[in-house]
């Protein structure tokens, strides 16, 4: 894998193994609690289905790529 590949905003891709994990947890809060108890830096996201579960709007949103 070439490390020259860039992501959006010109950010370099994160290296998986070379540094301590700094995790964003999207979903089950227990996984964030586990990481925090272990001493890993983690930010939990209080996720909810897009557009309050409205499938038509969610589909439109995915087409508009937010």
């Amino acid at each position: 894998m070439a490390a020259e590949h860039k992501t959006t905003d010109g950010k370099m891709p994160a290296s998986l193994l070379g540094q301590p994990l700094r995790v964003i947890n999207v979903g089950l809060e227990r996984f964030a609690e586990v990481l925090a108890a272990h001493g890993t830096t983690v930010q939990h996201v209080q996720w909810a289905p897009p557009a309050g579960g409205d499938a038509r709007l969610a589909d439109l949103l995915s087409k508009l790529g937010s």
Binding site: M1, V23, V26
Partner: protein, 489 residues
């Protein structure tokens, strides 16, 4: 009746005063209340609201007027007491926005711009979109969620490859990176064995056997169950091999999967062959098709993979076996899919016909059969859609367990008891309770406990709970299967 009290030389922000007044107005017997600094304009407001009396009218612009209108003197007195208490309580200093939690990955990255990893466990319908957001922000992503469409997985992994990132999953239940436990993961000693696994519980069994055998793990990278399919082409597996190859802490690599698509097998073996590190390739239920590279050894079961790494045979159950009950059938109820596969393989090798809802090659798919050796993977997608995984909620195993206990054709029930972070705090205790009322004629119960002493459940304590309940505990899933065989022979 109106009551006014004046506090001389008192200042509090008008908003704080309004909040306090609202609290007083809500007290029993109080019709209305106001707390205002005694400027002429404010006194006029209080007068128009019917709250000002002679005393209040005397207030000066530096004074606070506490004004209330009550239905009776008792209510007025109580309310005035409360008003004084509200004004006099010490101001607390709160931690500010320490309690704020972002609602989107986007806001979370804003908050933590040096984030480097996203762990996604939202419902499968939404997981791909979240994973994509992570990739676009330069994060490596692990997708615990299952029921993610295959086409999404392919698109995500191609995008990850283009961006120099890895997608671990979907359906990736376990990973341990630099010792950090991701989703369901065991407390493992750090060491030099690196693991790449398409199966979470496969990673758990092999890593625990290696750990309990005295060696340590550098990293365990999950790839998700479909990574080695023809459609996905092993993108994440190849990426993981690249990473472990470059990783100074890793001296040898174990690859764990069910048998991949043939072309993918060739690619993976070729890539392993280009490494300078020794590889153990564990394809549960399969055999390699072509000659192996010199640095690659093959293992057909999880136990064999651990034995190759440790360089010795694993321990086996040494205790007495209970008297057979007469039932001729083996019933397996597994939380771990690869443990179910391993058991199928071992029974097949012994010449048995096996039926399963997650069949390996040579196993019949479960339909209406009842008169057969049936091994169930309770973590299969079809079971988990809309329901908690049995590793999070072991009670999902109770119903099929209860059926097996009263089925006289069943001679032995096989179970896996999986420990680790993110998992139920006492699976052995829960199981012992579920089995507590079973009759003397019930089938023999054989279990293996996948975990380490350092896990939150503490392996030895879980083993004790099971043995106290009359359950036979084998040191590995493979050995548990061999014991089950003996019970019906």
């Amino acid at each position: 009746m109106i009551r006014n009290e004046i506090r001389k030389g008192f200042y509090l922000d008008s908003v704080a005063l309004m909040r306090a007044a609202r609290a007083i107005a809500a007290l029993p017997g109080i019709e209305d209340a106001g707390m205002m600094i005694g400027t002429p304009a404010n006194k006029e407001i209080l007068r128009e609201a019917g709250l000002l009396d002679e005393a209040g009218a005397q207030a000066g612009p530096g004074d606070l007027v506490i004004a209330l209108r009550a239905r009776n003197p008792a209510a007025a007195a109580a309310a005035m007491l409360e008003a004084r208490r509200l004004l006099d309580r010490p101001r607390r200093v709160e931690a500010g926005d320490a309690s704020w939690q972002p609602r989107t990955l986007r806001a979370a990255v804003q908050q933590m711009p040096d984030a480097n990893f996203a762990l996604v466990s939202v419902p499968g319908d939404f997981a791909a979109a979240e994973a994509r957001k992570g990739l676009r922000r330069g994060l490596n992503v692990m997708i615990f969620s299952d029921n993610v469409p295959l086409a999404e997985e392919v698109a995500l992994k191609r995008e990850a490859r283009d961006r120099g990132l890895i997608v671990m999953g979907p359906d990736c239940g376990t990973a341990v990176i630099g010792g950090a436990p991701l989703a369901f993961a065991n407390s493992l000693p750090r060491g030099d064995v690196g693991i790449v696994g398409a199966s979470g519980t496969g990673i758990q069994e092999v890593s625990c056997l290696i750990a309990n055998g005295g060696r340590g793990i550098s990293h365990a990278i999950g790839t998700g169950g479909r990574d080695l399919s023809a459609e996905v082409g092993g993108i994440s597996t190849l990426a993981a091999i690249d990473l472990l190859d470059k990783d100074a802490a890793t001296q040898e690599v174990v690859l764990i999967s069910k048998p991949p698509a043939p072309e993918v097998t060739r690619q993976v073996l070729a890539r392993a062959g280009r490494s300078s590190k020794p590889f153990t390739v564990c394809l549960v239920g399969g055999k390699p098709e072509s000659a192996l590279p010199a640095n690659v050894r093959f293992a057909g079961t999880l136990a064999e993979a651990a034995e190759v790494v440790l360089g010795r045979k694993l321990g086996t159950y040494q205790g007495a076996l209970p008297k057979p009950t007469g039932g001729q059938l083996i019933r397996g109820l597994f939380c771990g899919g690869t443990l179910c596969s391993e058991a199928q393989l071992i029974l097949q090798r012994s010449g048995l016909d096996v039926v399963s809802n997650a069949p390996i090659h040579g196993t019949e798919r479960l339909g209406a059969q009842r008169d057969a050796h049936i091994l169930i993977d309770l973590g299969d997608d079809r079971f988990t859609r809309g329901r908690p995984h049995p590793m999070i909620e072991p009670a999902t195993r109770d119903v099929p367990l209860g059926e097996a206990l009263v089925d006289t054709a069943v001679g032995v029930v096989m179970l896996d008891v999986i420990l680790g972070w993110g998992i139920h705090p006492d699976p052995a205790g829960q199981l012992a309770r579920a089995l507590g009322g079973r009759s003397a004629a019930a089938p023999v119960i054989v279990a293996s406990v996948i975990g380490t002493e350092a896990d939150p459940q503490v392996r030895s304590s879980q083993v004790r709970k099971l043995t106290d309940a009359g359950i036979i505990v084998a040191p590995s899933n493979a050995n548990a299967t061999e014991i089950a065989l003996q019970c019906v022979r």
